[in-house]
């Protein structure tokens, strides 16, 4: 039996979504992140891998943690970085997404890290742009670096992804974190159960590789990993569920409910958390929570992605 040669780089020009990555590429990113994490533990947290490269963080949607995480990752790789927060409302009505980005491209950046409120925005840009594009979240579609940092965190605790039982609970409908995680976990051989109030469960979620559960208890039963998704407070106004109080009663993660998961299960959350809505503070601050570790790993994983996409020689 022949073993395929290990991959040494990513096959695509861009990172638009987990859907574009093969399992060996995911493993490569996670392995590279191991080395990058070590950089973050040094007294001088900087390597010259991307020296002379220009990376523009183009955020059409407000973000603090993802943008900060990318920026730190870029600086640790010695890239020249520029943050542009283009609030969609300030984009002159009628100006196309492509026009906005073409203006930035005219200044010849090497990479664009793009977040946009519209699903598919990065895919549309990738058809026209010379720069490499890293999707930092497009609408309800994908948030690939979040899924990668989640996988990295799971792997560092469990030693593997294959065979893990993952429970994901919260606003499934509006979550790009969910979609990227489902794609990644399925590719890597984990199984996923999801739970949410029925109006927040996307139609056809089974086709995305998740088993929907009616209750949080059913989803948590025997889980190795429990991932809670943020409940946006305004969802209540659209009758996705009646009240935050009832949400917490039916779907909130409490210490008691955590007892249904495996004793060594870890608790994850992409942030920002609503304490007392999707997660009780006793769990969020408890020994099983790895939420701040996810944030730390986010820098390492983003360094790995940027390095693998932009560190090599241009073809």
């Amino acid at each position: 039996m022949s073993t395929p040669a290990p991959v040494t780089g990513l096959r695509g020009r861009h990172l638009l979504g987990i859907s574009d990555l093969a399992p060996d590429e995911i493993t490569l990113i996670l392995d590279t992140a191991d080395a990058m994490r070590e950089v973050g533990e040094r007294p001088i947290k900087k390597v010259p891998a991307l020296r002379g490269r220009t990376i523009v963080n183009l955020f059409f949607e407000p973000s603090t943690r993802t943008r900060t995480s990318f920026e730190i990752a870029e600086k640790r790789l010695s890239a020249d970085t520029l943050n542009l927060a283009v609030s969609t409302s300030s984009v002159v009505k009628g100006e196309t997404l492509l026009d906005t980005v073409s203006n930035i491209e005219a200044m010849a950046p090497d990479m664009l890290v793009v977040r946009h409120a519209s699903s598919g925005a990065c895919h549309q840009l990738a058809r026209h742009c010379r720069s490499r594009i890293v999707n930092a979240g497009d609408g309800l579609h994908e948030h690939p670096t979040q899924a990668l940092l989640d996988a990295y965190t799971m792997r560092s605790h469990k030693g593997r992804l294959e065979g893990l039982q993952v429970a994901i609970v919260g606003d499934l409908l509006h979550s790009r974190v969910l979609r990227s995680n489902l794609l990644l976990l399925r590719k890597m051989g984990a199984t996923v159960r999801v739970a949410a109030p029925r109006p927040l469960v996307p139609v056809g979620i089974e086709a995305l590789g998740a088993t929907p559960c009616r209750t949080i208890e059913e989803a948590l039963d025997g889980a190795d990993v429990v991932m809670m998704l943020r409940i946006q407070l305004e969802r209540m106004q659209n009758n996705y569920f009646p009240s935050l109080r009832e949400y917490f009663t039916l779907f909130g993660l409490t210490g008691e409910r955590m007892g249904l998961a495996k004793p060594d299960a870890i608790v994850m959350h992409p942030g920002p958390m609503n304490r007392g809505v999707e997660i009780a503070s006793e769990v969020a601050d408890g020994p099983q929570a790895v939420i701040l570790e996810q944030v730390a790993n986010g820098v390492a994983v983003r360094m790995a992605v940027l390095y693998l996409l932009g560190g090599g020689n241009e073809e």
Partner: protein, 441 residues
């Protein structure tokens, strides 16, 4: 002026004809249809190329010509040029212009532009309510007098059941057809594509097929209550078709149309986020497409209409959720119908002519739909085996928003004749070079 269209295969279901005939056109009127007609003195002879089919002029009962108000997308003149190049001798245009066509002034403006263009006939469709706002009944009597053949609030489903009842009663009294865009706006919400596994995967907000079906059930029920004919615009789901069939079976005068993109594409086409796959109703899954094709074949679908909806490239360059709904259709309809329905074995030529000519003429109660002696000479010559490569750059519409670029299809249009005038000639068809030149070619 007199000429003879000689030796064409004539498919004219309304007159029970399918065979080789000559057609004599005199002063814009079909003078005679027969075999081996004598050639009157001074008459020109136009030999119909072998393999071509002569049919009553095709009628597209659902287009958007955008004028007045959105001339950057389409004008009446460019729209009718696209129409005749697509084989259509007549189009009915929706009232969502700017201003809305809810007055005789706008209706006459559109007709004046159409008269000046002298290509396809244009039948304006008036608004059912003032400003299509769903509040006050429009002056349908005045609209009819100015030339409207139907009323619709188009992209805005007629807002309340009570108003829809009034529209049906009042328009029915005036013998004006009522057309509704059937979609429950409250269930549609902010959806942009069909709600299903593909939308969930792509993170695009969904519109369930039931939003259409609920509204069709409402309207059919009201058509039954008022005993007034009612036409469903761009029907797109299996459930909607079930509702129409059931309505017809109960004796309700309900008819419906299907757009080519709904029998050609599924929601799988959304992958890649090409905004030219965004239209309303949205592309549906295969099961719906199969049901529509079955309905087109068995007669429960009455009409193929394009919902030709031109948008400027800049507008379609927005992100998927912000780009406008709609694609052009006038210049791809015949090729898609030939390739995907006729040559695929789902329908025969007779049925194609019923769907594109006989039935729309009957439903709109306008001239055409038959090659009868004494009728205005609105004639389409089709080339069923012509290899066609769809290219936006060679189309006549001002807008290029369609998802069929580069498609290679079998079947196209050879020539279009309106009021006896040769208005379109396709020089890619062998033999048409010998015909007189046309305004569009």
């Amino acid at each position: 002026m007199t000429y003879i269209l000689r030796n064409g295969r004539v498919v004219d279901p309304a007159n029970g004809r399918d065979g080789i005939f000559d057609i004599e056109v005199r002063d814009g009127v079909i003078a005679r249809v027969g075999q081996d007609l004598p050639i009157p003195e001074g008459a020109e002879v136009l030999d119909v190329p072998a393999g071509c089919v002569v049919t009553p002029g095709l009628i597209d009962m659902h287009v958007h010509l955008r004028e007045p108000g959105q001339e950057h997308k389409e004008t009446v003149a460019s729209g009718v040029a696209a129409a005749v190049a697509g084989g259509f001798t007549a189009v009915a245009c929706m009232p969502n212009t700017s201003p809305i066509n809810d007055s005789a002034a706008v209706t006459r403006y559109i007709r004046d532009k159409a008269d000046a263009a002298r290509l396809a006939r244009v039948y304006p469709i008036g608004a059912a309510s003032v400003g299509s706002k769903g509040e006050q009944l429009a002056e349908i009597g005045e609209l009819k007098a100015a030339g409207c053949v139907a009323v619709s609030d188009d992209g805005h489903p007629v807002k309340t059941a009570l108003l829809m009842r009034r529209v049906l009663e009042y328009a029915g009294m005036l013998d004006v057809l009522v057309i509704d865009h059937c979609e429950d706006p409250t269930l549609k919400g902010d959806g942009v594509v069909h709600e299903g596994a593909v939308a969930s995967e792509l993170g695009l907000r969904g519109i369930p097929g039931e939003a259409e079906e609920l509204w069709i059930e409402r309207d059919i029920t009201l058509a039954g209550l008022t005993r007034v004919p009612f036409h469903v615009a761009h029907l797109s789901t299996a459930g909607s078709l079930r509702a129409v069939r059931a309505g017809k079976a109960r004796g309700i005068a309900v008819t419906c149309e299907v757009a080519p993109h709904h029998f050609v594409l599924t929601d799988e086409a959304l992958r890649g986020y090409d905004t030219n796959t965004k239209m309303n109703p949205p592309l549906r899954p295969q099961a719906d497409v199969d049901a529509l094709i079955a309905g087109l074949a068995d007669g429960s679908v009455d009409v193929i209409a394009t919902d030709h909806a031109p948008h400027h490239a800049d507008e379609k360059a927005l992100s998927y959720d912000q780009a406008p709904f709609g694609i052009t259709g006038l210049e791809t309809c015949v090729s898609l119908t030939f390739d995907r329905l006729v040559h695929a074995g789902h329908i025969d030529l007779t049925r194609m002519v019923e769907l594109l000519s006989v039935n729309p003429a009957r439903i709109l109660k306008v001239t055409g739909g038959a090659l009868s002696e004494g009728a205005p000479a609105d004639i389409t010559v089709l080339a069923p085996d012509l290899p066609v490569t769809i290219q936006a750059s060679s189309q006549h519409s001002l807008s290029k928003n369609m998802p069929f670029e580069g498609w290679q299809l079998r079947g196209g249009v050879a020539a279009t004749i309106v009021d006896g005038r040769l208005v379109y000639r396709n020089l890619a068809v062998d033999g048409l070079g010998a015909w007189p030149s046309a305004s569009v070619q």
